[in-house]
Symmetry: C2
Subunit: 137 residues, 2 copies
Amino acid sequence: MEQLRQTLKVHHLRTTTCREDVLSTFINKKNALSHGDLEGALGENYDRVTIYRTLKTFLEKGIIHKVLDDEGLRYALCSHSCSEEKHQHDHIHFKCNACGETNCLENQHIPAVQLPQGYKPENFNLLIQGTCPKCNN
Amino acid sequence: MEQLRQTLKVHHLRTTTCREDVLSTFINKKNALSHGDLEGALGENYDRVTIYRTLKTFLEKGIIHKVLDDEGLRYALCSHSCSEEKHQHDHIHFKCNACGETNCLENQHIPAVQLPQGYKPENFNLLIQGTCPKCNN
DNA sequence: CTTTCATTTGCAACGGTGTTGCAGTATTTA
DNA sequence: TAAATACTGCAACACCGTTGCAAATGAAAG
Ligand SMILES: [Mn+2]
Ligand SMILES: [Mn+2]
Ligand SMILES: [Zn+2]
Ligand SMILES: [Zn+2]
């Protein structure tokens, strides 16, 4: 709780209940969340637009990162300290086709790839879909 | 032109001008296209909904595949013969931050990755963002 | 060539997504 | 405690993606 405020302070953001609640939702649920998920969890308390703007701000500040999806964007916490300037990730995202959850596999790095002449890669995003350990018996 | 009809026939789809036009748009422009791109190109001639349904049908039949993006889904031709049953791709997609184009790098395969116990991967989607050869001087 | 039947299309309508402008409210700082 | 600044809620808007249904079209058969 005090931790949350600290995180906001570090990123030069004012402490507001919406930001605290969005941040703690990300921490509690550990999987990637869509705007709709957050609206479902917090929509009684905050306006739709405020949640959007909170996500946008968190993105800019390097508190969360986008997670690609074949049916709508999601977001997840940046575990390592990203900042406004440097927003770098190289871990794999896994989406379970059974339970629908998408998770960061922080320890699984995207392998290096060889690109043809002239391509300057800057950012990598690997989504693997399949069945997660919970759903795979 | 006769080629197009052949493709539709192979997939047991009736020949309609909308399907021909959507298909030839994919063939002419070689990059990945969003629904909006197609509406821009063909919207005078066909209803929005018809274009959506054409994309959906082409997806199901294995004529096109989804290309993930951080700001809206795109679609691209399946170069190898995908079918309704088997829809497999393992090539890399590259999005240029300068010109905005996204392209299939058909010859660049996604490297194998090691996943923790219990994960059963089925589908891989790697998007690399950066600068493409055209924009990189 | 015409008829028939299944498929495809256009239109209307709806709910979700993502953004902006602006007035009012809350937080910070001093 | 007051002033300056940042944040929120509301209204409004432009896309996105889907569905139901009646009309139009294409394929196949007579
Ligand atoms: Mn992640
Ligand atoms: Mn592709
Ligand atoms: Zn699962
Ligand atoms: Zn480019």
